[in-house]
Point group: C2
Chain length 484, copies 2
Amino acid sequence: MPDDPRPPLGDISPETFRRHAHEVADWIADYLAGVGDLPVLPRVRPGDVSGALPASPPEEPEPLDAILRDFREIIVPGTTHWNHPRFHAYFCSSGSGPGILGEALAAALNVNAMVWRSGPAPTELEKVALDWLRDMLGLPGTFDGHIEDTASVGNLVALAAAREHATGGQAREKGLAGGPPLRVYASEEAHSSVRKAAMVLGLGTEGVRGIPTDDAFRMRPDALEAALAEDRRAGWKPMAVAATVGTTSTTSVDPVPALAGVCEREGIWLHVDAAYGGSMGAVPEFRHVLDGCDRADSFVVNPHKWLFVPIDLSAVYSRRPDMVRRAFSLVPPYLMTPEDGAARNLMDYGPALGRRFRALKLWMVIRAFGTRGLAERIRAHVALAAELAGWVDGAEGWERMAPTPMSLVLLRHVPRPGVSEDALEKHNRELMEAVNATGRAFLSHTLVRGRFAIRVAVGNLRTTREDVEEVWGLLRKKAGEVGG
Amino acid sequence: MPDDPRPPLGDISPETFRRHAHEVADWIADYLAGVGDLPVLPRVRPGDVSGALPASPPEEPEPLDAILRDFREIIVPGTTHWNHPRFHAYFCSSGSGPGILGEALAAALNVNAMVWRSGPAPTELEKVALDWLRDMLGLPGTFDGHIEDTASVGNLVALAAAREHATGGQAREKGLAGGPPLRVYASEEAHSSVRKAAMVLGLGTEGVRGIPTDDAFRMRPDALEAALAEDRRAGWKPMAVAATVGTTSTTSVDPVPALAGVCEREGIWLHVDAAYGGSMGAVPEFRHVLDGCDRADSFVVNPHKWLFVPIDLSAVYSRRPDMVRRAFSLVPPYLMTPEDGAARNLMDYGPALGRRFRALKLWMVIRAFGTRGLAERIRAHVALAAELAGWVDGAEGWERMAPTPMSLVLLRHVPRPGVSEDALEKHNRELMEAVNATGRAFLSHTLVRGRFAIRVAVGNLRTTREDVEEVWGLLRKKAGEVGG
């Protein structure tokens, strides 16, 4: 009807999209080139950003010019810049150019690869890219991989498979109420996500027993064996040992070969959380950190941590994909397809039915850098961390709080001898906040055997030696300024 | 060192990135403009795509020209096109231009908003956008929302909160082994993800009891009450009722007000899975499908289904965020921040620690279309489905298999009276595959009371009346060609 007053429906016009897509392309290019000039931590307080936005959605369409302006003027200045070269908090997660392009293309295709038929190429590329990653890290060909969003969910998937294994496949149907209490063993340094997975899976936090560590923060196999024996006598059924390669606090590496021996003797599922540390396997001379991991039943590594793939992408491998499927596969009639049996359906491998095309960015990153290029970057980060560790060791009044086997340096400032632990914590917390408040760097902290330590994580794609020097200079400058 | 032969490290160069970002912008613009000319279902067999790719990753960097060429020549022709105007399978999930730009920007920022400090604007925009969505759908202001990837995980989060509620907060620490068996009640038409969530949570598939439905495929409150009484006598502890607004098979709507009454009397958590149907609330005259949902304890709706936001984005609301946090919050020292207590930390609200900046695309889509624009599009889809339903009803030899309360039409062809159910299934399966093989449309199927039905889901942003006409023409044409 020519006199129909309604606007045409459908998407925004192709011309409007094209114009703004180019605008966005330029904005991203400028952002990546200049991110180092922005404050890493934004100068906002809780409520500032939401207070700057209308409480109600607009009734009428708004032009993309206005939306993108608010993005630039409200969102970006309120955001912590993970791509900043002096982002040294937590573990780094930098988005590389090829990874960002991969995400943009995946968003455009908007595939939901829940079954092969609904996304053949995404389904198959996930297998190809994860086989590449596996080979690149020196993991065995028996490892079958799929993608989850984060290592928290990767660990959950692995432990759900372990739960099927430990219950003889009963948990899937019967649940846990009638059975013996199940327990997971992880070092006291293991990531909180192991305990969270146990909560989700119905084991409860008591379903995880923390095993003491040695003086390099590594799980003690003798302590594990003692705990297993004690728990078996008390009626617990050991379900899994969750070892860590690269713990969050100190990047310590559990003695996986010895733990594998214990697990094999006892018939217990061995899971390895290598979310951060697994990427070390890309470097031939560091691959030893993965010794013994070929004997693991499941293994998690996050390319979105130290392989320059934008968040989110966690790779989950298992030698027992049958157990993973037993834990997660449930196929109603409306999801049966003619290709069932002939092709993998990703929905069978985790808690989510819908699957975004995450493999694309990983495939593009591996190709754009090459395995040698990725290894060189990780090698450089480890070298930078070693250099910073050396500076700390050589500086009076500074203490390195743990070994530096990867690219994380733990340090604290000791203004003078004899200061109490409480005062040291207060001093170093103030020091860290003073550095962060400059907007020039972002550091985080942990507790090492209860003692406050500043974490300087190196692993950002854009970090150079000059950046690490600047951070070290900032730490020394601010140490003299804050109370102590 | 000027004679250092190594290439510079870091990301690809800014110029290289910019050039390819513009190339990608143009490709996406062309793709969106021309997606209707591609085959919806690709002409590939299992193994074709992976067979076309090298088995090993490249050692040396490859140029983005080569990578993007393979994307265009291998990946795209091997992909099912969810953005295609005649994608009518499952439920539609179309990515709008504003949503795609939002994803590209989120990938560039690469924020992990696990704690407020690590992403203030993403954390706060998530709350703002979910408050907007809530208000737009007419849900009560008491609903507190956060984002998960999919409705499967959204349902899992809701049921984990219900588990804490049912166990008096004991499940979190104690797990399920010592307690009574817990049970969830959902209609026999509920989505498989409810049962999968029960598997993950340690209830097992037996921890879900399917409740019979009435002749419009809606859960029968009387049958629910009878099941609750019977199960209580048998020692089960009812944990939650999971109602559905818009079931996958038939888009039926459970009688939520009556179910809320049962839950209130019995003290049971009421969850509503409105992953698809919830978007109907954006349209004033359809909002009645959400009647009673203000009395739900938790509620899930997927903007990536029928609100033109690229996958993945599922919104989870709860009147009891304390129970959600009880189920999921676990804060190790290295994740404590000065803002704890003053600001929300998204990691407290679900299984994943890491949080991608998903809110950006939702915020951009709501602004770019406006609430009125979104409502108009949903209204148009419902009208198209009603029109198709009328054509089916008026055509000899065709049968509509269920009511059409939303935008999904269930149909089958009955070539002649007296054909057996088995033969009808075979005939309609062949008919569906014949339509799909044309590459002109993609349909899926379900079983309705055990009888095979072809599903024609309308809900793609790019679908016009001409597209629905073409599908109906294809169905009639192929019905005469396949055996029967």
